[in-house]
C-alpha cells in the first residue's frame, strides 16, 4: 500500500535521520535500508529522497561528504550533525506521543501490519 504524500512528508525526514543514526550512508544505501526496514512502506523514490536529503543538509541536520569506496567508485555519504542528533531525539519523542495518541484512538497497527 502506498502512503499518502501528506503523511509521508512528516515521517520521511524523521525516518532518514533515524536511518543515519547508526552511521554514514550513501543515497542508494538509504533507499534500500528504508525500504527494507519498513517493509516497503517507506520506499522513497529517488526523486523524493534526494530533495529530502538536500533539505536536511540545508537545515544543518546532516552533512555530506564525497568518499571513494573500495570499488573505486565515488559516493556521497550523509551523516548526522550535532543538530541533527538533537532534532532526531526531539522528533522521536514527539512521534512516540503521536503514535501513542493514535493507538489510544484505536488506530494502532495490527500485528499483521507491523513490518518485519
Amino acid at each position: 500500500m502506498r502512503i499518502e504524500s501528506e503523511l509521508l512528508r512528516g515521517a520521511g525526514p524523521l525516518a532518514v535521520l533515524k536511518t543515519l543514526e547508526r552511521g554514514p550512508r550513501y543515497g542508494y544505501e538509504l533507499v534500500e535500508a528504508l525500504a527494507r526496514q519498513t517493509g516497503g512502506v517507506l520506499a522513497l523514490g529517488q526523486s523524493t529522497l534526494y530533495p529530502l536529503l538536500y533539505n536536511l543538509e540545508a537545515k544543518g541536520l546532516i552533512e555530506a561528504d564525497w568518499r571513494e569506496a573500495d570499488s573505486g567508485r565515488e559516493r556521497k555519504y550523509y551523516s548526522l550533525t550535532k543538530s541533527g542528533r538533537k532534532r532526531l531525539a526531539r522528533d522521536t519523542e514527539q512521534w512516540r506521543l503521536l503514535s501513542g495518541a493514535m493507538q489510544a484512538l484505536g488506530l494502532g497497527p495490527a500485528a499483521a501490519e507491523v513490518p518485519a
Partner: protein, 629 residues
C-alpha cells in the same frame, strides 16, 4: 578525472573558482586547456560515466532542468550517477532503476528548491532584496499608471472671469475722472532720459557736475509735468489691467530699450489669465517719481515754492491712485512714491527751507497730512491665486480638485525661468507632482488661513508687534505652489510702518520750521508745537512713546530710539546711521548684540529728520550695464 571535494551541498571555493574566468586562466597556465563544452559540468559527469542510455537520459532530464549554478548541477549529476551505479552493482536492472526514480521534472523542481535553501546567507539576502525591489517596482508601476490616468484625464473648468472682476471699478469710472489716459500722455511726451543719467537718476543735486544738464532736461519736460499734475488731480486712476499695453505706450516703453519688445504671450488659455497681465504703470510711475524728486530739488534751488508744491501734489496724487491696488505690489509702489515725496520734502527743509513761504509750508503740511493711510488689500492677489487654481486644477465639486496636465504648464511658468513649458521629465513626473500637490480646496484654505494669521499679527502699531518678521509661509504650508504665490505680508506691513513713521517725521519737521519762523528759535520740546502747528506728538514706532527731539549744533533732530529701544540722545550707531533697517524684536536685537561681531549697528538711535547729507557725485560716470530706466 572528477575533482574531489568535500561537503556535497556547497562545492569548495577552489572548485567554484575553476568555473570562473580565473579558472580559465588557471587552466590555461597551470592545468592545461579547458575541456570542450560537452565535457564540462553535468554533461562532463555523464560523459565520464559508463551508465546505460536509459539512466543517462534520466540524469540528463534532471540535471538539465535544474535552475542551479553549474557546479551544483554537476554535483547532483555525480550523485545520481553514483546512485545508479550502486543500483546496477546491486543487481537491479536499468529500467527498474529508472522506473523507481520517479518523475525527473518533479525531482528537478524539488532539488532546485532544496539546493537553493542551502546557498549562503549573502546569496539569499541578495535574492530577497531583488524580490523586494521587483515587488516594489511593480507596485510603483501600478500606482504610477493609476496616477497617470487620473492626471491626463482631468481637466480644469474656468468658471470665473477674474480679469473682468478686477477691472470693474476701473471701467465704471467716468472717462473725465480717469487719470490713466493723462499719465499715458505724459509718459509718451516725456523726453527719453539720456542713458548716462540712468544709474543715479533721482539722486542728482545742486553741486553735482551733472546738475546743469539735469536742470536743462527738467526744463524741457515741464509741459509733461503739467500733464502729470492734471492727472494727479483726477479722482480715479481708471487703468484697466490687461495682458498687453496700449500700443502707443508700448512703443514708447520699448523705444528706450535696444533689444525691443518681447514676443507676445502665446494664447494657450481661454481668455487672458490674471497671471499674464502686465503692469507697465508701476515702473513708469516710479521713474516719474524719480524725475519729480529731481524737479523738486531744482525748484527749491530756484526758490520756486509753487513748483515744489505742484510736484509734491503730483507725487501724492500718484500715490493715491496706486494705493487702492488691486495688488500688494501696486500698494507697495504707492508707498514707495509717497516716501519719495517725504524724502524730497525733508531735503528741501534741510537745505533750502526758505524756498517756500510760511503759507506754502502750511499747504505742504496739509497735503502730506491729508494722505490717506494705505489699507493692505489682498483682494487682487487672491484673485490672482484663485484664477491659477481654476486653470491649473480640476473642479470636482465642493472646491475640491487636483492638479491637471494643463495646470502643470501654469505651475512651471511660476518657477525660476518663468516657463517655456514643462519638459519631458516634468511631464513624466507630472502624475507624481500632482499627487504630491495638495487638493485645490486645501490650498485655498491654507491661503486664507496664512493671510488671516499674517494680518492678525501685523495689523497693529509696530511697537505692539511681538513676532519676528518672516515672509515664509510657515510650517503649515506644504505646497511649493502656495509658497510661491503668497504675498510677502510681513515685508509689506514693515514698509507701511516705516512710511508712516517717515510722514510723521516730515510733518513734525515742517511744524518745527514754521515754529522757528514764528518764534525765532526752535521749541524746547515738541509739545510746544501743539496745537497750532501739530495736532499731537506722533509716536515713535519702536516703543509707542512720543517721538524724540533734540537740538544739536543749533539744528533740530527728530529721532526714534531705534532697534535697541534705548534713548541715546539722538546718537546714531557707532558704525553710522542705519538706513532702511528691518524691524527686529528686542530679543532678536539682544541676541545679535551678544553673538555677532559688528552688531553695534543695532545700537544707537534712528534719525528720522534731517536726512543724512551726501557727498557730491563724481564728474565722470559711465552708465552701468544694468542701469535703471
Amino acid at each position: 578525472m572528477i575533482p574531489r571535494h568535500h561537503g556535497g551541498g556547497q562545492p569548495r571555493a577552489s572548485w567554484r573558482v575553476l568555473s570562473t574566468p580565473i579558472g580559465d586562466l588557471l587552466r590555461g597556465r597551470i592545468t592545461g586547456p579547458r575541456p570542450p563544452k560537452h565535457l564540462r559540468g553535468w554533461r562532463g559527469v555523464l560523459a565520464a560515466s559508463d551508465l546505460p542510455e536509459a539512466l543517462r537520459d534520466t540524469i540528463a532530464a534532471v540535471a538539465g532542468s535544474l535552475r542551479l549554478w553549474k557546479e551544483e548541477k554537476a554535483d547532483v549529476a555525480r550523485e545520481l550517477a553514483a546512485h545508479f551505479a550502486d543500483g546496477l552493482a546491486s543487481g537491479a536492472g536499468a529500467d527498474a532503476l529508472r522506473d523507481s526514480f520517479g518523475d525527473p521534472a518533479q525531482a528537478a523542481r524539488l532539488i532546485t528548491r532544496a539546493k537553493k535553501r542551502a546557498r549562503p546567507l549573502w546569496w539569499r539576502a541578495v535574492r530577497r532584496a531583488r524580490q523586494l525591489i521587483a515587488a516594489g517596482f511593480l507596485l510603483a508601476l501600478i500606482a504610477y499608471a493609476y496616477l497617470a490616468a487620473q492626471f491626463w484625464l482631468r481637466s480644469p473648468t474656468i468658471s470665473r472671469d477674474y480679469l473682468a472682476e478686477l477691472n470693474t471699478a476701473a471701467l465704471s469710472a467716468p472717462e473725465d475722472d480717469r487719470a490713466w489716459p493723462l499719465y499715458v500722455k505724459a509718459i509718451i511726451d516725456q523726453e527719453n532720459l539720456p542713458p548716462r543719467f540712468w544709474w543715479a537718476w533721482g539722486d542728482y543735486r545742486p553741486g553735482d557736475p551733472q546738475w546743469a544738464e539735469v536742470v536743462a532736461y527738467l526744463g524741457r519736460n515741464q509741459g509733461m509735468i503739467d500733464t502729470l499734475a492734471r492727472a494727479a488731480e483726477r479722482p480715479d486712476f481708471g487703468m484697466p489691467v490687461s495682458a498687453t499695453m496700449p500700443p502707443d505706450l508700448a512703443r514708447k516703453v520699448w523705444s528706450r530699450h535696444e533689444q525691443g519688445p518681447p514676443p507676445a504671450p502665446t494664447e494657450t488659455e481661454p481668455g487672458p489669465m490674471v497671471m499674464q497681465i502686465v503692469l507697465p504703470h508701476l515702473g513708469e510711475m516710479r521713474g516719474l517719481a524719480r524725475l519729480l524728486r529731481e524737479d523738486i530739488a531744482a525748484a527749491a534751488a530756484g526758490r520756486d515754492g509753487g513748483r515744489v508744491l505742484r510736484d509734491l501734489g503730483v507725487l501724492l496724487g500718484m500715490r493715491r491712485h496706486l494705493q487702492d491696488g488691486p495688488f500688494f505690489i501696486t500698494q507697495l509702489v504707492a508707498l514707495a512714491i509717497g516716501d519719495v515725496a517725504m524724502r524730497a520734502t525733508d531735503e528741501v527743509l534741510r537745505d533750502t527751507p526758505d524756498a517756500l513761504t510760511d503759507d506754502e509750508w502750511s499747504r505742504a503740511a496739509h497735503m502730506l497730512a491729508a494722505v490717506r493711510p494705505v489699507v493692505p488689500d489682498i483682494a487682487g492677489d487672491r484673485m490672482f491665486f484663485d484664477d491659477i487654481l481654476q486653470r491649473a486644477f480640476s473642479d470636482e465639486g465642493g472646491g475640491h480638485g487636483r492638479l491637471t496636465a494643463r495646470g502643470l504648464g501654469i505651475v512651471d511658468s511660476l518657477g525660476p525661468g518663468g516657463g517655456g513649458g514643462p519638459d519631458a521629465g516634468d511631464l513624466a513626473l507630472g502624475p507624481i507632482s500632482a499627487a504630491a500637490t495638495p487638493d485645490r480646496r486645501e490650498l485655498s484654505e491654507q491661503y486664507t488661513r496664512v493671510m488671516a494669521e499674517a494680518r492678525a499679527r501685523r495689523d497693529l502699531p509696530m511697537w505692539k508687534w511681538t513676532v519676528p518678521l518672516d515672509d515664509d509661509a510657515g510650517p503649515g504650508v506644504t505646497a511649493t505652489l502656495l509658497r510661491v504665490l503668497l504675498p510677502a505680508v510681513d515685508s509689506f506691513y514693515a514698509a507701511l510702518q516705516r512710511s508712516e513713521q517717515g510722514r510723521d517725521a516730515t510733518l513734525t519737521a515742517i511744524a518745527l520750521e514754521l515754529y522757528r519762523r514764528r518764534h525765532g528759535d526752535w521749541p524746547a520740546s515738541l509739545a510746544d508745537l501743539i496745537p497750532d502747528l501739530l495736532p499731537a506728538v506722533p509716536p515713535d514706532r519702536m516703543n509707542g512713546e512720543p517721538m524724540r527731539y533734540a537740538v544739536r549744533g543749533g539744528r533740530p533732530v527728530l529721532y526714534s530710539v531705534g532697534l535697541d529701544r534705548d534713548d541715546d540722545g539722538g546718537r546714531v550707531p557707532a558704525d553710522g546711521p542705519m538706513v532702511n533697517f528691518r524691524w527686529l524684536t528686542p530679543a532678536q536685537v539682544a541676541e545679535k548684540l551678544a553673538t555677532r561681531a559688528g552688531a553695534r549697528m543695532y545700537e544707537g538711535d534712528l534719525i528720522l529728520w534731517p536726512p543724512p547729507p551726501r557727498e557730491p557725485l563724481r564728474e565722470s560716470e559711465e552708465p552701468p550695464d544694468n542701469g535703471k530706466d
